[in-house]
Amino acid sequence: MTTLPLSQNAFLSVFSPPDSSVAKSQLEISNDLDMVLIWMQELMRSSDPKLPSNRIKVALKNVCGTEDILLLRYIDSMRSDFKRRDVSIDGLDLRGTASTVAVLKRGYEFGVRYLRLDPVHQTLFERSLHAVLRTLFPEKTLLRIYSQLFSRDVASVTRILESIGLGEQIRNTVMRLAVGHVKTHVTETCSGEWDEPQLQELDRWIETELYPRINVFPSAGSKSVSWEINEAAGEYDFIAALKGIARDRLLDLRITESFDIVVDYPDSCPALEEMKLCLTASDQRASLVNSFIQACNKRLLHSAVNTTDIISFYIALIRGFLVIDPRGVLLDKVARPLRRYLKDRDDTVQKIVHGILDTENELAELAHELKRPTKEKYDDLDVNWCPDPIDALPDFKKGKVGDIIGALISLFDSSEVFVAECISLFAIELLGLTDYDVSEVLFRLELLKLRFGENEISALDVMVRDLVESKRVNAAVHSDGLIGSYYSLTVISHLYWPNIARETFKQPALVEQHFTRYRARFETLKQGRTLHPVPMLGTVVLELEFKGKLVEFTVDPLRASVVALFEKSSRLTLGDIMAELQLEKGYAVRAVNFWIKSGILYEPETEVYITLEGDEVSEGHKPSSGFSEDLNDELERDVLVMAKYLPFVTGMLTNLGASPVAKIHGFLKMLVPKDIGGYSATEKQLEMYLDHLVEEDKVEVVGGKYKLRK
């Protein structure tokens, strides 16, 4: 606060004394003023104030009416007095300093009583005094005093400071300190602690530990400057305010941790529940959504993360965010970027379907999810209908966001891709059955029907019926005992089964013989129908006598046939195998590699294989460099994947003549429909495949264009 440097003379020249009848010389009044001031200062210093003398009484009477000037001078002297005393609180004796100041203040207040000031001047004086005190105890100093809330001095210092009218300042300081304490405490005790609730403990801490420490004001005796005008309510308010701050702080912390909390689901359920309690303001919701999406983009939605992990995360996300916000609005918002990303991944469908149908993989919980009863369909005529939440996005679908399987299936616009993938998985599983027992498959088939509808997966019905029928046929065929009971067939309706390997090879004579007999029996059983072997599919249980031991293998027929060749001769070249089985090179190499890895065959020189029966080969001879093998495998896999486009390639080349790679690529991209898996290869892969076809003499290259070999 600034004071105007008014000199006494200047003041007197402007104002004339109010009572004109008692005219006094200016000099007289000036003398009187000085006298009064001196008397007041004496009064203030003496411990035992005496009554004013008669002269002073006269002087006091004379100065009546010039209170303004008197007060200004009084305050001036008071300010310099405080300054002179140098009441710095740097000294150790806080209490002493505070008391000195308190005594001074009381003195000045005492002096001013005799002036019988009117209320306006009284207020002016009080304000000035307060201002002087505040400059003596600036906020910085108060913070320093109160940051050691435990020091015993604080209570007494507080009492003194409070008595000199600094209660308000202390309150603010203490509040600031308390807030700081709460924030640090929350960060220190709650970070990463998601598996048990924290709020109750925080509340307890504030009530029983923090509040008693900061409640420095004597609860009784003080009136206007205590914490609270109304004791009970005020106290409650302060604690409640601190609790509110703790909640906000906890929520802020949880928002920054939200990604990890979701990863930790279901262990982090308590933390999620508390987020729900704390999440009240809409800006907090927005900040949760934003920071979560940012974390997702940074940590999840990039090519370094497995699709399975993203799907697991999505599942945890659905469950976790429904705890925070059961209406699903927040879930809907945070899931969108994730859904968009998943849609672009090639293997999403595959992984999801595997998860749904296969109980033994990372996404097996999807299988459990499928078995859960589905909620009743949402009905427009529901009497409990209520509008969408106000902050929901326009295309928010109530009741949809929480259904995990539904959410995953709805990633794609049509369920066709899922159905196709389901069918191919079921096909593998059904063909793997050795006892024709379809009951388990049927159960899951019914569950799938609930999801996708009867019609979508009717092909699966046919497939299951094929199995049931096969069981009957098999029993009938075996009834006369002509065919060994170890030889069973699964008769499938080829139109309804996906991805049936068209490649064939010459089966070992024994198997061939069995098949012929089987077919004959079948043809008598089912008039007008015949059997075509699909030798690539099936299961063979083999017992190999190897180094005097019996080793059992369960392999596919191709591998079994390859190893069977070594029964007659222990040394064969790749060419021999291919010729003997009338097999393509890729298949032969794969089958042979399997036996090499199993330790049955050994490749002493390129494309020559011997059985490892003799002792001449030590254990050290394991399959050669894995790298080139992998590379080969990769190439083979590519070729296998691309093989399904072969009909399109031939169809195109037949009708449109020779075409360059780019054109073929463009056509495939355009024309291969999604329900047979779509076309996802790159032009490079296509070119590799076409070159592979050239090697196989199916296609030739003329002037940079591929054409069919006639």
Binding site: G651, T654, A658, K669, M670, L671, P673, I676
Partner: protein
Amino acid sequence: MHSQKKGVVPDGHSVTNRLQNELVQLMMSGTPGISAFPESDTNILKWTGTIEGPQGTPYESLVFKISLDFPSNYPYTAPTIMFVSPMWHPNIDMKGNICLDILKEKWSAIYNVQTIMLSLQSLLGEPNNSSPLNAQAAQLWDTDMDEYKRLLMQRYEEIED
């Protein structure tokens, strides 16, 4: 959402779907001797087809190109099919127009590219000589097969890629 009853004029999308499905069916079935494919990757309504002459007929080991134009309301209207390769046949004129009942008044939506192509293939071996477009061919078919074959080969052009 407006719903559209099935059986009324379909939109472009369903023609595309239908033709795409037919293409897959045709490619996957791999019926020997017939094949067809869209001419460009932008317009699926125009296809090119290839038919091999059936065995035991004058057309054996000959290959012919045809063009297939699908109307936008296919399959409710028959596609327009022409022989692109020069042809000598009682029911096919010199411009390649074909006289086949299922492509005209007996068309039905249950037919598809595969059945059309198979019908055409069998038409080569079993012409309908009661309503010929090429009267000379019809006459020779019944009377002088050697001359028929000679005239056929005179017109026949091998397809070049």
